[in-house]
């Protein structure tokens, strides 16, 4: 369980806007273990996808600094030729939108076969055999028929299954899924998530699941990292995170979900928005501006991750004083007159 496949150390990914570089991922450190599903949550603009793309090195123009240790080597700024030996083989990626992730002019069989060819399966027969096996594995009915179909002939759920088949074609040790079900219907969503989980259990791969849906996290994750404004603000195992969330951002997110199981007439609203990259506060608590009712003195000058219990890290000290605006610290509702 505790055998790390991926170890990220102080990763910074900066994008150039006009003449300056602005870090969208700002000092992220985390590990992914074998047979572990790490979920990364946050609102849009928090740097979740930027982080995933940095691991795969898919950004075309970004400055990436820090360490990403994968299979005993630092893969940050590795030459493309070496990277290409890893990508698609030892690390696979499932993209958000299956329609844009697939080539519309190529039949399914060739698309999946291509990734096998690149990584050394030269015999066409073997490739076809493997593709059919993969299609079967991801639950596509009538693989022989689908083999010769084009992406537009498949439904959204089926396309996403094809994308998953491509990602797992070479039995990767690390699988990155970037919002794999956002474009899909609920029933399909649960099928795809169950599939990802099944594949993980079977292969023992480490999985990074990026999502903004906390319900998905509760169903899927072993550990959860909550990101805000390019930083990890809280990281813990899934039970701790849902039962004892500490960081104000985590608590606010959890409280804003209209749960289908609980009665709650008004939802919690997080004031303000995630600031744009250029306007990110680089000093002090980045979430401070969105919880203005918490005194400035509660925040750290230079917020660090604190280990509050084994494996449970929280950034900044403001969690100690945090309460929702309509409640006191013990969680009792104020009587609004």
């Amino acid at each position: 369980m505790s055998e790390p496949i991926l170890k990220i150390d102080n990763l910074r990914t900066s994008f150039r806007i006009k003449d300056d570089y602005y870090p969208a991922v700002d000092g992220v450190s985390l590990t992914v273990n074998k047979n572990e599903l790490l979920a990364i949550v946050g609102e849009s603009g928090c740097g979740k996808s930027a982080l995933a793309f940095s691991i795969m090195n898919l950004h075309s123009r970004a400055k990436i600094e820090g360490n990403i240790n994968f299979k005993g080597q630092n893969i940050v700024n590795l030459p493309t030729s070496k990277l290409n030996k890893l990508r698609g083989k030892d690390m696979g990626m499932i993209f958000q939108d299956p329609l844009t992730a697939l080539n519309p002019l190529m039949i399914i069989g060739e698309q999946i076969g291509e990734i096998l060819l690149i990584h050394g399966t030269n015999s066409a027969e073997k490739r076809k055999e493997r593709v059919l096996e993969l299609l079967n594995k991801v639950g596509i009915p009538r693989p022989e028929h689908v083999f010769n179909q084009f992406p537009h002939e498949l439904s959204g759920g089926m396309r996403q299954r094809v994308v998953i088949a491509m990602a797992i074609a070479n039995n990767p040790e690390l699988l990155i899924a970037d919002e794999p079900t956002t474009a899909l219907d609920v029933t399909i969503q649960s099928q795809i998530l169950d599939l990802i989980k099944e594949l993980k259990e079977e292969s023992g791969a480490g999985v990074i699941l990026i999502t903004h849906d906390l319900g998905v996290v509760a169903e899927m994750a072993d550990r959860v990292a909550v990101m805000y404004a390019g930083q990890i603000v809280e990281i813990a195992d899934v039970y701790t995170l849902f039962e004892n969330p500490l960081h104000p951002y985590t608590r606010s997110l959890l409280n804003s979900v209209p749960t289908a199981n609980e009665e709650q007439s008004t939802l919690h609203v997080i004031q303000g928005v995630v600031p744009a990259l250029q306007n990110l506060p680089r000093e002090g608590c980045r979430f401070g501006a969105r919880i203005p009712w918490i005194a400035d003195s509660a925040h750290e000058k230079n917020p660090q991750l604190h280990e509050v219990s084994p494996g449970h890290f929280v950034r900044c000290t403001c969690y100690k004083d945090f309460h929702f605006p309509d409640r006191d610290k013990e969680g009792n509702r104020h009587v609004v007159s």
């Binding site: 649960s190 906390l214 169903e219 289908a260």
Partner: protein, 310 residues
């Protein structure tokens, strides 16, 4: 008499093709839908993509031509109204799904929100500005921002502009087509809270279209579940979430992620059971074409599409 009543609504789209563009077949997007909404309530229309829920909403407001069936609003037949007597339409407004594509990027906020006002009310420039500012204040935006363009706002703020436009004429019924699907949870919370608030304040009736059962449960009093253009089940929130009868509804309810990670195994098992039941019992719940049967009452409020006994 219900506030809004939809009777046997059908919307069929022709499929054209061949040498002279003849109509070859019809796609039955909505195929015999009946429901009614009480005044001041929120009615939820649920279904997967392609189930016809959006088409139903658009047909009521007249954006899709109704093939057959009738729509009554406050007792008046508003089916396929022509331009001459479209005044009733000012009482029904729509909130669209995507706040990024439903606002004209070349127009300022004042022009966007005052468009319905210009269509239906003769106001002077000053009155118009005043009304728009009031509306912006009502939806929680800065009244000073009337001269801004849509791109200067965030997603949640844009959706509020869409809402301000929808309530500009003080409508009685609002059709909200996936109003929060494109938004983050925190922003979604903001919009949902706000929709509830103005419902109370202005006495609005909502037809709330969504695929997200969590949101539907939070917002709606009555719910209808659609599948391939037909109803499979309808009832109160209680009926649908606690006593789903149709196998399709059961499957939808089972697919809602559970927010407690401790229930995970149990929930997965439940989901699998429902899936197996769905596959085995599919033929009992759907006819030869894979369509739902006619609705049969199982209680006063609860209707389920079951085959006729016998």
């Amino acid at each position: 008499m219900s506030y809004l009543e939809v009777k046997d609504l059908k919307v069929h789209f022709p499929v054209k093709g061949g040498l002279f563009g003849r109509t070859l077949a019809h796609i039955k997007a909505v195929d015999g839908v009946n429901f009614s909404i009480e005044k001041g309530k929120t009615y939820g229309l649920v279904g997967e993509s392609g189930s016809g829920k959006t088409t139903t909403g658009r047909a009521i407001i007249g954006l899709n031509k109704i093939t057959s069936g009738q729509v009554f609003f406050e007792g008046q037949d508003i089916t396929n109204l022509n331009k001459a007597n479209k005044d009733i339409r000012r009482d029904i407004q729509m909130i669209f799904q995507d706040p990024y594509s439903s606002l004209n990027p070349k127009k300022r906020v004042i022009d966007i929100i005052s468009e319905p006002l210009r269509n239906y009310e003769k106001l002077t420039k000053g009155e118009e500005t005043k009304r728009v500012q009031e509306l912006l204040e009502l939806v929680g935006l800065n009244p000073e921002s009337i001269l801004k363009y849509p791109h200067e706002f965030s997603g949640g703020q844009r959706q509020r502009i869409g809402i301000a436009r929808a309530i500009a004429l003080k409508p009685k019924l609002i059709i909200a087509d996936e109003p929060v699907s494109a938004l983050d949870v925190s922003v979604q919370a903001q919009v949902l809270n706000f929709m509830k608030e103005i419902q109370k304040e202005l006495g609005l009736t909502y037809l709330f279209i969504s695929h997200d059962l969590g949101v539907i449960k939070h917002m709606c009093d009555q719910i209808g579940i659609m599948y391939k253009g037909r109803y499979v089940e309808s009832g109160t929130k209680e009926d649908i979430f606690n006593h789903p009868q149709h196998i399709y509804t059961k499957r939808l309810v089972a697919a809602i992620p559970d927010m407690n990670p401790r229930n995970r195994q149990q929930h997965l098992q439940f989901r699998q059971e429902v899936k197996n039941e769905y596959e085995q019992a599919y033929n009992q719940y759907f006819d030869d074409e894979g369509l739902a049967f006619q609705l049969q009452p199982v209680s006063d409020t609860h209707l389920v599409a079951l085959p006729e006994k016998g």
